[in-house]
Structure formats: C-alpha cells, structure tokens
C-alpha cells in the first residue's frame, strides 16, 4: 500500500532534531543488593509502560489511580518477573516475598516492586537476563545498579545487550579495604559534630593557662605534644567503642548516642570558657571520645558491612577517619600556632569560637533529644 496521507507523514519529521527527544524515553530502574545471605531487589517500572503493556486505566478516564494499580499488582508482578530471569550456575533463582509501592520520578509515577531472589548457589556469579518491554518498545532500557560490598556496578540493558553477570564479592580484599578507608575520610568531612568536637579541644592547645588568663605556648614542640596527645586519645577512645558496637558487644539507641555527642561538644566548649580540666586535656578527649565511637558505628551500619571481612572493613574505616582528622589538624595547626600570640586568637577564636560552638551544640542537643 502507499502511505496514508503522504504529505502529512512528511511533515512529522520537520525540524524535530533541534529540540531532541523532549521526553525521557522509557526506562526501568533495577536495583540489586547482593549479600552473602540474600539477593534483595527493588524494581521501578513506569506506570505509563505498564499501562501500554497491561492496561491499568480501567475506567478509561486517562488517569491511573492507586485503586486501579492495586487491582493489577499481581498481574504486574507476574508480567515483570516473566521478563526478568536470574540464575546462578545455570539454576534459576526463585523470586519471593514480593511487596508493592509507588515512587514519583522526575518523569512520572513508577510502580515499585520489591522482592528477594532465592538462589541455589549464592556464592556463584548471578546471571541476569532482562526482556521487559523489549517486544513492545525496542527503545526501552533496563538501568541496572548492582551493589556488592558497598561497590556499585551499573549497566544499561537493551534488546541488543540484555544480559549481565554480577560477581558476588566482586571486590578484592585491598580494594574493599580502600573502599572503607575512603568512606572513613568522607565521613569525617561530613560529620560536622566530630570535627567540631576535636577542633574545640584543640583550640587552646597553642596556649597555656596562667592564673585566670591564656598565654601563648612557648614553642612548637610543646604544642605538637599536646595536639598529638589529644588526637591520639580521641582516636583510641572512639576506636574502642566503634569496634565494640560493630562487633555487637554494646548496643545503644541512636537517639541517645546523638544527644550524648551533642553534650560532648558542649562540654568541650564550656571547658574552654571555664577551664576545669586544664593540663591533661587528653583525658577529656578520651572520656568524651568514647561516645563518638558509637556515632561512627551508626554510620558504618548504614553502609552495610561484609560479614566475612568485617575486621578489614572496620580497620579500613577507622584508618580513614584518622587520616581525615590528621589532614584537618595539619591544615589548621600551623595557622593557630602563628596566630596564638594575637588578641584575635585569644578573644576571637578561643572565646567567641567556643561560645558559638556551645550554642550550636545546645541547639543540636535540643533538636535530638
């Protein structure tokens, strides 16, 4: 046959390239979390695509309601899972424990399907075969994110390239160590309360208390010793509690830990304003540092820990935290030492600084309690 209304057909093409595809094409987001015990999956599929494949809009009014989606959840799961196969060593993994939710992405609403894959050979590589919507829309893509031991592998699956193999424990020991080390450095940078605590303790390290006033410390040696003492004490203390918490020996509710951390910052600031602990401030660093270790443990738990190489991850993370701290100290100490004799340092940095820290810490405490 000849093409219906040829002229009309022609005009469809005109000038289109200058705006490109004005819409996002069809994608699904397949997130897979591989642990030694389970394969947890979250799959986000656009409602528009499900409508085209299965017809969700029962009353035909051009909208999809939660009721309409809910009525078809079983059909959706059956359809989706029929187009996604996983196997280990040639034996299929069985999906189970399906749960349904909804998510709004930038381009519309998606059905979210949660499930676990029960794989017969959990230590073997996981082979994926993705076919969703390829028969209906060859431009559809499956965007896969597989997370193994905190490392993420991504892939774009298409009709030409529908398969992916995910290596379990795909990370070598040293790379895993490096990964957790990076996380440690990262968290000292982000963990404003830990950094503030340490800096508050270090503020007076370039000075010494003489009667009721502060005087500049005589030389760099004295200062370095004091700083080393404080940093080491803080490190030893939080390493002890971090390990204890991660290994499950002690467990504290996170709200309590967070509030207690705010108090430690407040105490450190108050000690600068009304010095009670004057000479052996490393003792203060140690005592209060114990509490911070529980805070780090919370972060580490969020990251997910490998059960087989727990010690390595712990050591890597801890070392990362120390390196992050040392970097900050190395950056600020020379400055503080140079300025220690000035009125600006003693009044501005020490007094006003400590006062502001105390205010921030009080605010944190009230917010967290």
């Amino acid at each position: 046959m000849t093409i219906r209304k040829p002229i009309l057909a022609i005009l469809l093409l005109i000038a289109l390239p200058s705006i490109g595809w004005a819409h996002k094409p069809s994608d699904s987001y397949l997130n897979i979390m591989l642990t030694p015990d389970a394969v947890a999956v979250r799959w986000d599929i656009a409602l528009r695509d499900l409508e085209y494949a299965l017809g969700l809009d029962k009353d035909g009014d051009g909208t999809i309601t939660w009721g309409e989606l809910r009525a078809r959840q079983q059909a959706i799961a059956a359809y989706a899972l029929a187009h996604l196969n996983a196997d280990t060593a040639g034996t299929a993994c069985a999906p189970q424990a399906e749960r349904h939710a909804v998510e709004n992405h930038g381009d519309g609403a998606y059905a979210v399907l949660f499930f676990d894959w029960n794989c017969p050979h959990p230590t073997a590589p996981l082979n994926l075969d993705y076919r969703l919507f390829f028969d209906l829309d060859p431009l559809h893509r499956g965007l896969v994110q597989a997370r193994v031991n905190g490392e993420t592998q991504t892939a774009v699956l298409s009709p030409e390239n529908p398969r992916l193999t995910v290596q379990p424990g795909g990370l070598g020991v040293w790379r895993q160590f490096a990964q957790y080390w990076r996380e440690g450095v990262w968290h000292i940078g982000l963990g404003f309360d830990h950094l503030l605590f340490l800096l508050t303790l270090l503020l007076p390290a370039v000075l010494y208390r003489d009667g009721d006033g502060w005087r500049p410390a005589p030389d760099l040696r004295t200062v370095s010793l004091a700083v080393a003492g404080i940093v080491t004490a803080f490190t030893v203390a939080h390493s002890i509690t971090l390990s204890a918490a991660v290994l499950g020996w002690i467990s504290l509710p996170s709200r309590l830990v967070e509030s207690a951390i705010a108090i430690t910052v407040l105490l450190a600031a108050l000690n600068n304003l009304y010095p009670l602990v004057r000479t052996r401030r490393w003792l203060l660093a140690f005592g209060l540092g114990l509490i911070h270790g529980f805070g780090f443990a919370g972060v580490l738990a969020e990251l997910g820990l490998p059960s087989r190489t727990l010690g390595l991850a712990l050591a890597g993370f801890n070392l990362g935290v120390e390196c992050g701290q040392l970097a900050v100290v190395a950056l600020l100490l020379p400055l503080a030492f140079a300025l220690r004799g000035s009125w600006f340092y003693r009044r501005g940095a020490l007094q006003l600084g400590s006062l502001s820290v105390a205010a921030i810490a009080s605010f944190w405490f009230l917010e967290r309690i």
Binding site: M1, I3, L13, P17, S18, W21, L47, Y52, G106, V257
Partner: protein, 394 residues
C-alpha cells in the same frame, strides 16, 4: 548524625538517579498517580488498540504494520515523546534488520533513526529508498531536514529543489525557506514564503504550520519581533499540537523578555523536557516560588537520561547548565559536544553564550568561523559574535 545520614542518603539518591521521595504506599484508592497523555477510551486510542491487536494476531501484515507505525510517529511528533517511536519500531520488527526492506519500511526506519540522531544511518536508508523510488517526496524532505540540521546547506537545498517537482508549492517553499533563511538570504526567502502562503489559503494545515514556523523564526532572526509574534500566533491558532512550535515560541518570548507570557503559554505543559526547560527559565526570571521545583525536576530528568547514555538531549543539558545551574564551563563542554552533532542557529547560539559566560572566547572560534562562512543573518547571534570578537582581540 542526622546531618550525616541525610547527606549520605541524598548522595546515594542522586547517584542512583532515584530522585524524588522514598517509595510510598498510598492509603486512598482514589489517589491519582499518573495522568496519561490521552483519554484511554477516546475513539483514536480505541482504533489504535484495535490495530495493535490485529497486528499482534498477524505480525507479518506489512500494510497494517506500516499504517500503525505512521500513526505512532504522528503521536511521537505531536508529543515529542520517544515512547511512540519505540512502539513504531516494534510494529516493524519483522523487517527492521533487513538490509533492503520494502520502501515503506525504509522510509519509516529512516524517520525513526533520524529521531534518535542516527543521522548517517537515516541518510543511508534514504539513499536506498531514492534509488528505487526517486519520486518519493517524503524521502527528499526528510533528507533536506537532516542535511539542514547537519549544516550541509547546498545538499539540503538540492533536496528541496527536487521536492518542488513532487510536492505542493507551499511545502517546497517552506523547505527552501528554512534553508535559505540561515544562509544569508533571509530577506528574500521570507518575502517569497510569505507570498506563497498568502496565495495558498486552502493548503493543508500541517504545511501551513511549518511555513508559519519558518516565517516566525526567520522574522525573529531578522530583528522583526512584531512579524514573528504575528506568525507564531497564526501558527498556534491552527490548533495543531506541536511541541517544537511551542518551544520555539517560548524561546522567542524569553528573548523578548516576556517571561510571564511563557508562564501562561506553558502553564501545566511540562511533560516534554523541552517545555519544562522553558517554563523553568521563565519562572526563574519571574522569581516565582515554583522555579526551584521545576529546576529540580528537570535536573532529575537529565540525570536519568545520563544513566541511559543518551546524547539526544545535549542541547537541553547545555542550556540547563548555563542558565539554571550556573555552570558555564560544563555548559560550554556540552554545547560544543552538541555542536559536533547538529548545527542549527540555536546550537550555534548555545556555544557563543556558553563561551562568553565561561570567559573562554577562543572556544567559540569554530562557530564564529562557521557563522562567517554561512553568512547567517541573526540579530542576536550577531551581537554575541561581536562581544566574543571584542574579547578575542588582544
């Protein structure tokens, strides 16, 4: 610690392209989750579904497949929505990978390839088609459009000329007008097309739409905003939904510093990224409370496209980086990447603006040379070029 976790969660969400809130389970069955672009039970959609079902029963029925595919291409064009192009390709699946499929299939394949910016493959398909069907007007027109986008104006004009023997006078003139308008003959081609349009009041409304759009854009380039406004209004009055025309008119209004008019024009029409981008720009200039929300939605969509590895959105991305995200260096990189694929006046302008913003005038050198060579008349490009040349002078 809260601060920590919040940041980590945010970073993870950004990294995974999972922008938006956490998954939720609504508690009201009546809650509307998604609005479809069409009424599901409308006669058009019913007919489309019927054809789809017929084709599913007889997947080898080429006539039906071609008819269905064209319908999807029309929808994709109107909505600027690539899903429909995917549906069209699926209808042609049995013949898609043949090296020399039937002419009807070749034309559709070229169209669909052009839409995903596979320009060289699209041109190859058109050459094959024109060898067996030298009088296929559609093929000449598509060829002209692709070559025009690539900046090969002599070849594009040759295709328009071939068209003048095969299609209506208005169509052929709109084709050559769109090319001549950017190679230093804007005045003459504008008058010519305007006259042909006046002589053909009964012309097909799609053809009129294209002619009016070419006229409006040419007038705007020549620095005649009243004429451009009039043509855009005439184009919109035809009542044919066309995302390209809406985007072009919004750009014109933004240039004329009329963001409130853009806001009114696009109101809730934010399904297409290109329209969302213009609306976000307008709302930003109006300092409206929704501006941030539009910007964030757009950023999420851009991140999602990046995950996929598409390059069809480079232009949009460059403009987002330049005007909404305040990242001139990134904008320049994207604008130059876009320039390597397509060379329309808007693409040239992006490079010039980004080079100015990034204080890297020398990066704009290839575009400046190109503008000189083609003799493109455009008041805004001329002003930008002048600024850049001033900075380039030692």
């Amino acid at each position: 610690m809260k601060f920590h976790l919040l940041l980590i969660v945010t970073l993870l969400a950004m990294g995974s392209g999972m922008a938006g809130a956490k998954p939720f389970v609504p508690d009201d069955d009546g809650q509307v989750l998604e609005r479809l672009p069409f009424f599901t039970f409308s006669p058009e959609m019913r007919e489309l579904r019927a054809w789809r079902n017929d084709l599913a029963d007889n997947p080898g029925d080429r006539r039906l497949a071609v008819r269905l595919a064209w319908r999807y291409v029309e929808l994709g064009r109107a909505e600027a929505d690539p899903r429909y192009y995917g549906y069209a390709q699926a209808a042609l699946a049995p013949w898609w990978n043949e090296s020399q499929p039937a002419p009807e299939v070749l034309l559709l394949r070229a169209t669909l390839r052009q839409n995903r910016h596979d320009f060289s493959e699209a041109l190859a398909d058109l050459e094959k088609l024109l060898k067996v069907r030298p009088r296929a007007a559609q093929a000449w027109l598509t060829r002209a459009v692709i070559l025009g986008v690539q900046g090969d104006y002599p070849q594009a004009l040759r295709s328009c000329l071939a068209l003048s023997r095969l299609a209506t006078e208005l169509l052929a003139n709109a084709c050559s007008g769109s090319i001549l308008g950017v190679v230093g003959q804007a005045q003459a081609s504008y008058r010519m097309l305007d006259a042909v349009l006046a002589e053909n009041p009964e012309a097909d409304s799609r053809e009129r739409l294209w002619a009016l759009t070419v006229l409006a854009e040419t007038a705007a380039r020549l620095g005649q905003p009243q004429a451009a406004e009039r043509h855009f209004q005439q184009a919109l009055a035809l009542g044919l939904r066309d995302v390209y025309v809406l985007a072009a008119y919004a750009d014109f209004l933004l240039d004329e510093n009329r963001p409130a008019a853009v806001s009114a024009l696009l109101a809730d029409d934010i399904r297409p990224d290109s329209l969302l981008l213009r609306l976000a720009l307008a709302e930003q200039r109006l300092h409206s409370p929704q501006a941030g929300q539009y910007r964030d939605t757009l950023r999420a969509r851009i991140q999602a496209s990046r995950l996929r590895g598409d390059t069809t959105h480079l232009g949009n991305e460059a403009r987002f980086a330049l005007e909404l995200a305040g990242q001139p260096d990134e904008a320049l990189r994207l604008a130059l990447a876009n320039w390597s694929v397509q060379r329309e006046p808007v693409d040239a302008r992006l490079v010039l603006e980004a080079a100015l913003a990034a204080h890297a005038p020398s990066a704009a050198r290839p575009v400046l040379d190109w503008l000189e060579k083609t003799g493109l008349e455009d008041v805004r490009l001329a002003a930008l070029s002048q600024n850049l040349r001033r900075e380039l002078r030692p």
